[in-house]
């Protein structure tokens, strides 16, 4: 079974062991800038005075990712942060707030959230953007699908021109929009 979730819904979610220990909470979601696969999470400690943890949670150590908690077998599921985060400067690599530009050079808007398809693996499949006047005059939030292979290396996020045709304002229908968009790309290559 797969489910679409917004990355901001995962951020702050508690990390709980199967023994019921609430040991951390999700700080950042980390994903591969080419394949879009989620590598894992950086973590904050629990409690008002707990800061960021030196450990991280790799996706393969996640037992289940439910609506209220990320479940792991036990504390040993956590790993060294460096094995999940390879980027030296986290703030530079954060896609929230980045501009989305089409291959045709159109500024489509600014990323306000990232859409993740969660199954046995988790993939980044779209961006939620505050649309530019190029897409809509009222700057509303729209969902833009992404191809299988991403382009997330510079300051702007580049998407194929065809993605504009599959922009959706409806989260419930976005999964179908992603599939249709990717099928279109496969048919044209």
């Amino acid at each position: 079974m797969s489910v679409l979730v917004r990355a901001r819904e995962l951020i702050g979610r508690p990390v709980v062991t199967l023994d019921g220990d609430d040991i951390a909470q999700v700080k950042d979601l980390v994903f591969d800038n080419v394949s879009g696969q989620v590598d894992g999470f950086t973590l904050n400690g629990r409690g008002a005075f707990a800061g960021p943890l030196p450990e991280a949670l790799a996706w393969e150590a996640v037992y289940s990712c439910g609506p209220d908690a990320v479940m792991i077998r036990d504390r040993h599921a956590l790993t060294l942060r460096d094995s999940v985060v390879t980027h030296p400067d986290m703030s530079e690599a954060d896609v929230l707030g980045s501009r989305v530009i089409s291959e045709g050079g159109r500024d489509l808007g600014q990323v306000v959230d990232v859409i993740v398809l969660v199954a046995s693996v988790a993939d980044v499949v779209g961006y939620e953007i505050e649309s530019s006047p190029e897409l809509s005059t009222d700057r509303r939030h729209l969902l833009i699908p992404l191809p299988d292979t991403l382009s997330v290396s510079g300051e702007a996020l580049i998407v194929p021109e065809a993605a504009i045709e599959f922009v959706s304002g409806d989260f419930a229908e976005f999964g179908a929009a992603v599939e249709a968009f990717r099928a279109r790309l496969r048919a044209t290559t």
């Binding site: 990355a7 951020i11 702050g12 999700v26 700080k27 950042d28 979601l29 980390v30 994903f31 591969d32 800038n33 080419v34 394949s35 696969q37 590598d39 950086t42 904050n44 008002a48 005075f49 707990a50 800061g51 960021p52 996706w59 393969e60 150590a61 996640v62 037992y63 289940s64 990712c65 479940m71 094995s83 999940v84 985060v85 390879t86 980027h87 986290m90 703030s91 690599a93 954060d94 896609v95 929230l96 959230d113 990232v114 969660v118 199954a119 046995s120 693996v121 988790a122 980044v124 991403l150 997330v152 290396s153």
Partner: protein, 49 residues
């Protein structure tokens, strides 16, 4: 110690606690979505059931 000395000690302690709390909260804030380079081979990856 006179009462004002005790008051000063208490105020300093409260200030330290408040500043510590604010510093920690500032560090905790700013959760994001990080795009990073390929970490390792993706063969035989596990994940949620």
């Amino acid at each position: 110690m006179s009462w004002w000395a005790w008051l000063a000690v208490v105020l300093v302690a409260v200030a330290i606690i408040v500043v510590g709390f604010l510093v920690v909260q500032a560090r905790r804030r700013g959760g994001g979505v990080i795009a990073t380079a390929r970490r390792k081979s993706r063969k035989n990856r596990g994940g949620p059931q």
